[in-house]
């Protein structure tokens, strides 16, 4: 299995390569080396545990963008049934960087919205690397308003480097599209649960992230600007991205500590891509629990709570 190891995982990669080699030799020869393989596997697991116990923010940012990390549709396939994708903003186009549609979660109908990245080059381009244009946000708004009309809870999945910074996006009002979603979501009369599954990149993420309950996968990130962007503005050099990542505190545990995130969904050892099924199962459990909790609250009270929650964001002296 090619796990596509990141730089800080190189010691694990070397061990795994050794194990593969032994397996190859083992199948060729009659010498019993299974004991040796087992020993090395234990060592590999321990090494992974120790490396992953002390990850730096910049390393977590790498994991959040891991090329094999499960994307929105990988979770849809594992968690929901009856998924029907619904397309288009009814005004300009269908943006493939945002996917939306209805599905069932353990039988109950829900509205799903999420940013979608592509796996291979062609798909990456089609999905615009998960960077939505205004029509994507407007499609999301249309589907969320429909969910309100038919009393479907909304589950959003955040995974974007940010809203697309392009000429066409500006021409069609990227700012307004994002702002309008913030405005609308603040008062939608249906429960909203948002889960950051990869990169939570700035306003482009928040535009589907105003919610009653915010969850983050253990190795996802959420920040006001990318570490590279922050570093090139404040440090005048994109190479200072690791420092910027640390300073901004974009990881799940740090954001939970600051009271900005409600719940962290643990990932399998080595990250979500090592075991997408187990990760999806954990996400599913967390979503069901969240909905059960939110659905006991009368809708007016839920909206008051959502408003209070938004008003509480911030630190100042008076």
């Amino acid at each position: 299995m090619n796990l596509n190891f990141l730089d800080f995982e190189q010691p694990i990669a070397e061990l795994e390569a050794k194990i593969e080699e032994l397996r190859y030799v083992g199948s060729d020869n009659e010498i019993n080396i299974s004991e040796e393989i087992q020993r090395l596997q234990t060592k590999s697991r321990e090494l992974t545990e120790s490396i992953f116990a002390n990850l730096k923010s910049a390393q977590i940012a790498q994991l959040a963008r891991h090329p094999q990390r499960p994307y929105f549709l990988d979770y849809v396939a594992r968690i929901f049934t009856d998924f029907e994708e619904l397309h288009g903003d009814r005004a300009f186009a269908d943006d493939a960087a945002i996917v939306g549609g209805m599905a069932r979660l353990e039988g109950r109908p829900v509205m799903l919205i999420g940013q979608q990245k592509g796996r291979d080059t062609k798909e990456k381009v089609r999905r615009n690397f998960g960077m939505p244009r205004p029509e994507g946000y407007r499609k999301a708004k249309r589907l969320m308003e429909m969910a309100e009309k038919f009393k479907l809870p909304i589950l959003t999945f955040i995974d974007t480097p940010g809203a697309y910074p392009g000429v066409d996006a500006e021409e069609r009002g990227q700012s307004e599209a994002i702002a309008r979603n913030l405005y609308v979501m603040a008062a939608l009369k249906t429960p909203i649960v948002s889960t950051v599954i990869g990169e939570g990149g700035s306003g482009g993420a928040l535009a589907i992230g105003v919610c009653d309950r915010l969850m983050m996968l253990e190795y996802s990130t959420y920040s006001v600007i990318s570490p590279e962007g922050c570093a090139s503005i404040l440090w005048k050099s994109a190479e200072k991205a690791p420092e910027a990542a640390e300073a901004m505190g974009l990881t799940a545990p740090r954001l939970k500590e600051l009271g900005l995130v409600d719940f962290i969904i643990n990932e399998p050892l080595g990250g979500a891509h090592r075991d997408p099924d187990a990760t999806a199962a954990a996400v599913k459990t967390a979503l069901i629990e969240s909905l059960e909790r939110l659905e006991t609250i009368p809708i007016d009270k839920l909206l008051d709570q959502r408003y209070e929650r938004l008003m509480k964001y911030g630190n100042y002296n008076e």
């Binding site: 809203a163 697309y164 990227q174 994002i178 702002a179 306003g203 901004m248 505190g249 911030g314 002296n317």
Partner: protein, 286 residues
């Protein structure tokens, strides 16, 4: 500095070395057309160049001072002060950047909000101070804005906001991003109460401010030739790898693409906003 000025006592030296071609304080140059202008005349003209109509950037307090009627002004949220909750440090400490900005502007954060009157219509007006860390939106800006909204609802008085901002304040990290959601939610509440909001975008209105409160006006107005957009022109140029068209992300471009209702010259701002607000609130023409 030549050998002669080195010999002079320092007081005299300062005088000769700061000597400029035009006396400091009396004359100024238009940053757009380069015309040399009499400073009192520029100010009388509301910092619009009398030669080329270029709208120069103005401070928040000056803006409100020249927008509101002189009577009955009450500042809102002036006691709110920023804190460095994250102990953020880039090349400088956030704390030091704040001190520096406070010293340079005399403000303690980048938004000034006031209750007052516009041609006798009770209003709440807010203005961004661009010189305060690029008018960036952090917790204090968000909270002051919300308090302005609350006051507007309480008085059933229209809200007007003059934005001038580079976007979210990075030094407050995710807290600053959340100000986008906070201010937008407050505007949604204002809307449910049927109280008008006019957003006036001035040069520049970018990033998180444009992608939240600034684009949410019942009426979106811009001053002429203001830079308004989500992503900065340099970021876009790096993404698309081509030079941007002339006038891209300027007020006139936004008007053409349907993002704003009107472009209003600063010298007409009071009259025309008062006229619009009077219609929106069923009052006689002021």
């Amino acid at each position: 500095m030549n050998w002669f000025s080195k010999l002079l006592p320092s007081r005299i030296r300062t005088e000769t070395s700061t000597k400029k071609s035009i006396p400091e304080g009396l004359w100024d140059k238009c940053t757009a057309c380069g015309a040399v202008l009499y400073r009192a005349e520029i100010e009388r003209n509301l910092y619009v160049c009398p030669k080329c109509d270029h709208h120069m950037r103005v401070g928040a307090r000056w803006r409100l001072d020249h927008f509101l009627d002189p009577e009955g002004r009450i500042e809102i949220g002036e006691n709110l002060k920023p804190v460095d909750a994250l102990k953020f440090r880039d090349l400088k400490k956030y704390k030091d950047r704040l001190h520096q900005a406070q010293k340079a502007t005399g403000e303690n954060d980048a938004l000034v909000v006031m209750q007052g009157q516009l041609k006798q219509i009770p209003v709440v007006a807010a203005a961004f101070e661009f010189r305060f860390m690029g008018g960036s939106m952090g917790s204090v800006v968000g909270e002051r804005f919300v308090r302005g909204v609350d006051r507007a609802i309480e008085l059933r008085a229209p809200l007007i906001c003059f934005s001038a901002s580079g976007g979210a304040r990075m030094q407050e990290a995710l807290f600053s991003l959340m100000q986008m959601a906070k201010t937008s939610a407050a505007l949604a509440r204002l809307g449910r109460h049927g109280v008008p909001f006019i957003s006036v975008m001035t040069d520049p209105t970018m990033g998180g401010v444009s992608a939240s409160l600034a684009m949410l006006g019942d009426i979106n107005v811009a001053e002429p030739n203001a830079l308004i957009g989500f992503a900065g022109p340099r970021v876009i140029e790096q993404t698309v790898r081509e030079t941007l068209p002339e006038g891209f992300q300027r007020s006139e471009f936004l008007l053409e693409h349907g993002a704003i209702d009107l472009i209003i010259d600063r010298r007409e701002m009071r009259d025309r906003l008062a006229r619009l607000l009077a219609m929106m609130t069923h009052k006689p023409t002021p």
